[in-house]
């Protein structure tokens, strides 16, 4: 898609978010939770970047850093020539309209004491749409865009179903005509038949307004469906990025391979060998030395326990990066082929 010429909308470099862990009688911070650790990512205009990982991998924290709901500990977020990570709240305000957020639980993220009109008006007022009449028209337009009747404006969030509430959340996110929306598990709280309605709405809005999405979810099938590219996270780090087709067809990191193999496939006729990872996700407070994944990795060999692998291009391709000693090591090609076969599907 000629990304070599297109400039990224947003470029994250060396981004880290560390939370102090307080413990003991004096609540002293003794340990550090490295929720996001040295992440580099780019998001291009109009694309969807899927961010996948299990609970505690730092995907939500990364999304919140990008929306600047958190002040990152280290690193830069380049947007239109500015480093958003270095700006204070006041300086951020003009950029806030460009980067919006949709949350997982629409009941928690909508003020239950405000009518839908008040919820949708708030961003318009903050960003200077003074005329009440113009706001009225705008609220109607937004409701129409997300497929809600105009009479919804005077109602309260509790009067709506989960899917409808998520539509209100989406209407609020697009109210300021943003360039990027961080979608944090937007469909995982919804019923199966409602999920597809919301995914379609997000696809429609993207093609109409050229929005870029950072789509955070744990369900690989959902992310693959909606994304152009996918980044896989494990313990605060990105372990693989590629186009969503490549991630599915040719996953190279053993963690990505096992994630795909673990996702239940709604087809009883597929026969495939599952590789089941041993053990639990370790804590980001005290991640394993070397490659963070090595204690659970079916392909682990000597260097993995000591040296953290860099996120590097696979055979020189800048479109496909992986953080694994195996992928480019001489002689590793056959090894990965064997692993891929063991991990792979029979079909």
């Amino acid at each position: 898609m000629g990304r070599t010429i297109v400039k990224p909308l947003l470029e994250i470099s060396h981004l880290s978010m560390h939370f102090p862990v307080k413990s003991g009688l004096l609540r002293r911070s003794t340990l550090v939770n490295r929720a996001v650790n040295d992440v580099d990512l780019s998001i291009y205009p109009g694309e969807t970047l899927g961010l996948v990982g299990e609970s505690g991998c730092g995907k939500t924290t990364l999304g919140r850093c990008i929306a600047r709901l958190y002040q990152p500990t280290q690193g830069q977020i380049h947007y239109q020539g500015v480093d958003l990570a270095s700006l204070n709240q006041r300086a951020l305000l003009p950029y806030r309209r460009d980067i919006q957020m949709i949350f997982q639980d629409p009941m928690e993220s909508l003020n239950s004491r405000h009518t839908v009109k008040e919820i949708l008006e708030e961003p318009l007022i903050i960003h200077g749409m003074a005329s009440a009449q113009a706001r009225d028209t705008e609220v109607k337009r937004l409701l129409d865009l997300v497929g809600l009747p105009a009479r919804s404006a005077t109602r309260f969030p509790f009067e709506f179903s989960g899917g409808q509430r998520q539509r209100i959340g989406i209407a609020r996110a697009i109210a300021l005509k943003p360039k990027l929306i961080v979608c944090d598990e937007p469909v995982s709280a919804l019923d199966v038949s409602i999920q597809s309605q919301i995914l379609n709405l997000l696809l429609d809005l993207q093609s109409e307004f050229g929005l870029a999405y950072l789509f955070i979810a744990h369900d690989l099938a959902v992310v693959k469906h909606i994304s152009d590219r996918i980044a896989i996270m494990y313990l605060g780090q990105v372990v693989e990025t590629a186009s969503s087709e490549t991630i599915y067809q040719n996953p190279r990191h053993p963690y990505t391979q096992s994630l795909i193999s673990a996702s239940p496939v709604p087809d009883p006729t597929t026969t495939r060998q599952r590789v089941i990872l041993k053990g639990d996700v370790p804590s980001p407070i005290d991640p394993p030395k070397g490659c963070h994944f090595h204690p659970r990795c079916p392909a682990c060999f000597a260097p993995c326990a000591d040296h953290p692998p860099p996120l590097e291009p696979i055979h020189g391709s800048e479109d496909h990066l992986a953080r694994c000693h195996m992928v480019n090591a001489p002689g590793a090609a056959e090894d990965t082929a064997i692993i891929a076969q063991a991990l792979g599907e029979a079909n």
Binding site: D191, Q197, A221, K224, I226, P264, T269, V281
Partner: protein
């Protein structure tokens, strides 16, 4: 299936008394499961799949919930008219249950060991020593490392996946003939989900129990079950073998569900087929077929009369007026 099934649910009607009136959560639900088989109950929120499990277990919240009609036969014994005392011997001993959220199924102030040995104390004559031994070996079987140390720990000291293993160990310690698993992996990560589903399958092969798997995830059904029941708003929409229903779903709701989920090998960024509208509230159900207000094919008949379950073939039964009409 010549011999009688292990569990047979017939025309089960369960109602709840609420402030806003009586709600019929189950309206004539029937299905059966044979020894050692795996049956999936699938549907969206409010379809009645969990109420079905609670009705079988005799765990409906009292006094609000009650079974008003139908029967639940387990080993030819009618469960829904059984006195509480007799039900208590069946629950935990012959039928085990695993809940969605392991943290709420475990008692936070008791050790793992105490919770595991409790049902042995109630249902067997084993002495203390033997109970502890049985509990340790059960923890070992569900894949918990250093089981003797874990016995003295509390639920909060374990990870989510480990807790769910403990809950499974509790459900299976008396070697039940039937395990009811209500969304056993919904709260877990995918890689942990795969571990738990595999564990249930292994234990099932080893112990020969039947499993009722309740889930909203059609992928889990396809990978673990032989037969399935698709529920919608308290009624059975379609039931039969998993192969048959996934291969040629006949109820418009099943068809819609199967086509609306994104698939790993689907076309990226394409619009998904949708089921229009929302799941109806049990207080405000459409007359006739409960799916009629979301069904693209609905005709007047669908709004007027409740479709009976009709057999297409031995392993597929559908509650729809129209499945055998040309569309």
């Amino acid at each position: 299936m010549s011999h009688s099934p292990l569990l047979e649910v017939q025309d089960l009607v369960t109602e709840f008394e609420t402030d806003e009136g009586v709600v019929r959560a189950l309206d004539g639900v029937s299905f059966s499961i044979g020894e050692g088989q795996t049956l999936g109950l699938v549907g969206e929120s409010g379809c009645g799949k969990s109420v079905t499990a609670l009705s079988i277990m005799g765990l409906l919240p009292r006094p609000a919930g009650r079974i008003v009609a139908g029967s639940i036969l387990f080993n030819n014994q009618r469960l829904n008219t059984l006195p509480t005392r007799s039900m208590e011997t069946i629950r935990g001993q012959s039928i085990g249950m695993v809940f969605q959220e392991p943290m709420t199924a475990l008692n936070p102030v008791h050790t793992i060991g105490r919770q595991l040995t409790e049902s042995l104390r109630l249902h067997t004559n084993l002495n203390d020593q033997a109970r502890i031994q049985a509990a340790v070996s059960m923890l070992d079987r569900v894949g918990i490392p250093a089981p003797d140390i874990r016995m003295t720990e509390y639920p909060h000291q374990l990870s989510g996946g480990m807790r769910q293993r403990v809950v499974i160990a509790m459900a299976l310690i008396c070697q039940p003939k039937l395990l009811i698993a209500d969304e056993p992996t919904t709260a877990l990560d995918v890689t942990i989900q795969a571990q738990i589903l595999d564990l249930i399958k292994d234990l099932q092969n080893e112990m020969g129990m039947a499993v009722i798997m309740i889930t909203h995830d059609l992928g889990v059904i396809a990978e673990t079950c032989e037969s399935m029941v698709v529920m919608y708003a308290g009624r059975v929409a379609e039931r039969g073998s998993v192969k048959q229903i996934f291969g040629s779903p006949m109820h418009p709701y099943t068809q819609g569900l199967l086509s609306s989920i994104p698939k790993l090998d689907g076309i990226p960024k394409s619009r998904l087929p949708v089921i229009e509208g929302i799941v109806p509230s049990l207080f405000d159900l459409p007359t006739g077929c409960r799916f009629n207000n979301r069904c693209a094919r609905a005709i007047t008949l669908c709004r007027e009369s409740v479709p009976a379950l009709r057999e297409r073939q031995a392993d597929q039964i559908i509650a729809c007026h129209l499945w055998d009409e040309p569309s």
